[in-house]
Symmetry: C2
Subunit: 486 residues, 2 copies
């Protein structure tokens, strides 16, 4: 670092969201571009956030009967072909391994784009009787999809980190409950961990995962008005179980075919969180994922150096004892202003400032990262107070995102209104939709917006928006959310 | 599972270690073979053990300044070539990605066999001043080496899971301290987590990691008398730093070249643990890694069913409250004998049996997995007692392995004696060695045993075994441990 000039973000989030985001990611040491297009290097500050998300999901999975496993990173071409035969529309662009050492392989190996076709045959082996069901497997791994688009860290990368869950059940209800359980866990992680409200719903039929009966999705609204899909949960029905012969004998010794699901949460969700909360000063991290939740910055003069540092150190001890992740920035060679800027860039949710006044008064000064709100509090019950303020920071982030979302769902009932609304404001347009892909195409061709999700009809607050399709005027079966997407 | 016949291990560990091991791994649901030779599927019971090891290493790393990151799974061919130019002898056999989607790539990508050549250029970017040092990065990932050998789960697989640490330091001493710190952490995990005593030392010069000044190793003795290397820590000197220009300005503003290290611990160490402790009844897991540490098996008759189950349930509650990983096997459809066999196969370290007598006496019966030692203890302070007995099980495993190791280090002072000793007993032969590879070759050509490690001369209990080489009689510089290896 050669100076403050270089340190700060120069792009504006409001005016240039895309450039601001990529500058943010690099300047805040979250990620760098790899030498190969489509790949990134996730730096410790970024990876720590991913680890926190992973841990939170893993705890939820473990509490609900999921067990982690690890399957090979390669899938033989014949396995993918088998999936192609059973699953119409399945033709993933993958990275192909053709040589091992100095020899050409007899059969090409795909670097896994997802693992249904390598996991399903093992599920078929491991499931014998109804007592073996449900079978719930999950793996955390990297996958590779050879899509030729511009790289955007975490949003669009050829290799990405994710978890993929794969389960088998006795019947349709069991599989559907599983699909929804995982969707709701994803939603909970968005809200409780990422401080992001999400829209949850179904994908339209033509956009379901190949082979799935139903694909459900978690969508988040980005500051530039586009929607990002960070997690999906698929009800696969019996298509994979039939193709890969995942069968079991029921209690009456009859042979039955299982029903399966798969569900995945990728680092796109992390990208969405970083983009949603960050600002022109840098990252803004929800306390649940921040590598440092609190930074303590002592501000001393020549006269009170020792007193301030001693006092600050005891504050740090208290916060650490309360199991908070605390950084004590007592660097001699940097002034407080520099430190403030640096920790703001890094997104630390809560700053504790301690100077001579605080020492004299037995207080500390707290500063909230998102809005700079500053409050002087008693030093004595600081650990408890800090937890409350971290909660407050989480709520501020969530509420701001919630408000942004609510302000950006607009109804429309004609193609012109839909196009005009998305063109002018971005965000979601909610419209009645007959379910015909052709009516989506009308919008898509004009403005690259598509149906990102259909609310679940069994949601409490579900209400059809109109009775005829906003595009073709035929009777409407669905309410659809249209948006531009990442 | 169609019956007890299929469940049990049929091979003998003593007579047929190799076949016994592969049967054990599959029957105990640790791993299965993948469709592609060289690859395996790690099942939940195996993966849970790996996760426990990972967590234990990660805690140690975190406490000593390491931060996790994630680098791309592919390395461009030109990057590997660059490493080849600077590192004599570096020519790894790798899996090559040649096509992405339907197109041939301009440059082939190697699936990472290790990541020095993709990580070092980023270290060069991130290190500017002496204040950025030491820089300590680690990643948990899978790597792929295209070695054409017979697959042996965890011991020999083309893809394997590991962690790779990469660090940069101001000077040689800093890098050497790091190398030894990681070696000692690996040794501690072997002893405290895997219940395996290990030999630690240096690799001979001709067997160091390409580019390294010194390679240090952790070696464990297997029941069939072979040595397995499950972790290595490399002092890389300045070779990588010079090649990749990892330089920094020191406090006097002078440009200096950093010193680097790398260190890795792979799932081989897990395989070594499984092979060392398992027996003809199945797995025997050290309590630190066992997915279930205690299994509670109620044994009821028609008369006391409810009383036994209630009592057993309260025991389970107590054990869970004490943070033990407990399984309550109250299945109706299986008799106690079947359950005992099944949990023995799975390696659960401690079994709690509860029948009418225990209920009447206010006791429980504890059975140690390794040797069947059975003891009746008071129910009241069971949680504490159980922890003590788990510690005892760990000690039993460690002591047995320690004794096996001590009995299998033998001195020899002529080629004939070395060959005869290894041929007859396996294990390690300790001999004075001049350091010349030719003298190792004499032994290697005859009996496929090699120098697996040289004790560190600064070890407290280091003592040269003789003053002239056991093979050529020239003055000896080293004491070497010869053994057959995995």
């Amino acid at each position: 670092m050669s100076g403050e000039q270089e340190l700060g973000i120069t792009e504006s989030k409001a005016h240039n969201t895309g450039e601001w985001y990529t500058e943010l990611i690099q300047k805040a040491e979250v990620a760098d571009y790899a030498p190969m297009g489509g790949f990134i290097v996730t730096r410790p500050r970024g990876y720590a956030v991913w680890e926190a998300i992973r841990e939170s999901l893993d705890d939820r999975f473990e509490d609900t009967g999921v067990r982690n496993a690890y399957f090979p990173m390669f899938v033989p071409e014949s396995y993918l072909e088998r999936e192609k035969e059973v699953v119409e529309g399945f033709d993933p662009e993958v990275a192909w391994v053709t040589h091992g050492g100095y020899d050409e392989l007899d059969e090409r190996l795909a670097v896994r784009p997802t693992s249904e076709s390598i996991i399903a045959p093992y599920m078929a082996q491991w499931v014998r009787s109804h007592r073996d069901l449900p079978l719930r497997l999950n793996q955390w791994c990297s996958v590779c999809r050879w899509e030729a688009t511009e790289t955007k860290p975490f949003f669009r990368t050829k290799e990405f980190l994710w978890q993929e869950g794969h389960t088998a059940h006795r019947d349709r209800d069991g599989a559907w409950e599983e699909t929804m359980l995982r969707l709701r866990q994803y939603e909970a992680v968005y809200e409780e961990v990422l401080a992001l409200p999400a829209l949850v719903g179904r994908k339209p039929e033509h956009d379901t995962f190949p082979g799935a009966d139903t694909t459900t999705t978690v969508e988040a609204l980005m500051p530039d008005g586009k929607s990002v899909q960070g997690a999906t949960s698929h009800h696969l029905g019996r298509s994979f179980a039939e193709a890969f012969e995942i069968t079991y004998t029921d209690a009456e010794e009859r042979e039955r075919t299982a029903h399966t699901t798969s569900w995945g949460f990728s680092w796109r969700a992390m990208g969405a969180m970083l983009m949603a909360h960050g600002d022109d000063q840098g990252l803004v991290l929800p306390p649940a994922v921040a590598p440092e939740q609190v930074v303590v910055v002592p501000i001393w003069s020549d006269d009170d150096r020792e007193a301030v540092l001693d006092y600050a150190e005891s504050v740090v001890d208290d916060l650490e004892t309360a199991d908070l992740r605390v950084e004590f920035d007592d660097r001699d060679e940097r002034n407080p202003g520099f430190k403030f800027n640096e920790w703001e860039l890094r997104g630390v949710p809560l700053r504790v400032e301690i100077g001579g006044n605080e020492v004299a008064d037995g207080t500390v000064t707290l500063v909230h990262r998102p809005d700079g709100e500053t409050v002087e509090v008693d030093r004595d019950d600081l650990a408890e107070t800090a937890v409350e303020h971290l909660d407050a920071v989480h709520r501020k982030l969530y509420d701001a995102a919630r408000q942004h979302l609510e302000e950006n769902v607009r109804d429309a009932d004609s193609p012109e209104e839909m196009l005009g609304t998305i063109g002018k404001h971005g965000g979601y347009v909610r419209a009645a939709w007959c379910g015909d892909e052709a009516c989506e195409t009308v919008i898509k061709d004009e403005i690259a917006a598509e149906v990102v999700m259909l609310p679940m009809e069994d949601d409490e607050d579900y209400e059809p928006v109109a009775e005829t399709c906003a595009v073709c005027d035929e009777p409407s079966e669905e309410t659809a959310y249209f948006a531009k997407t990442y």
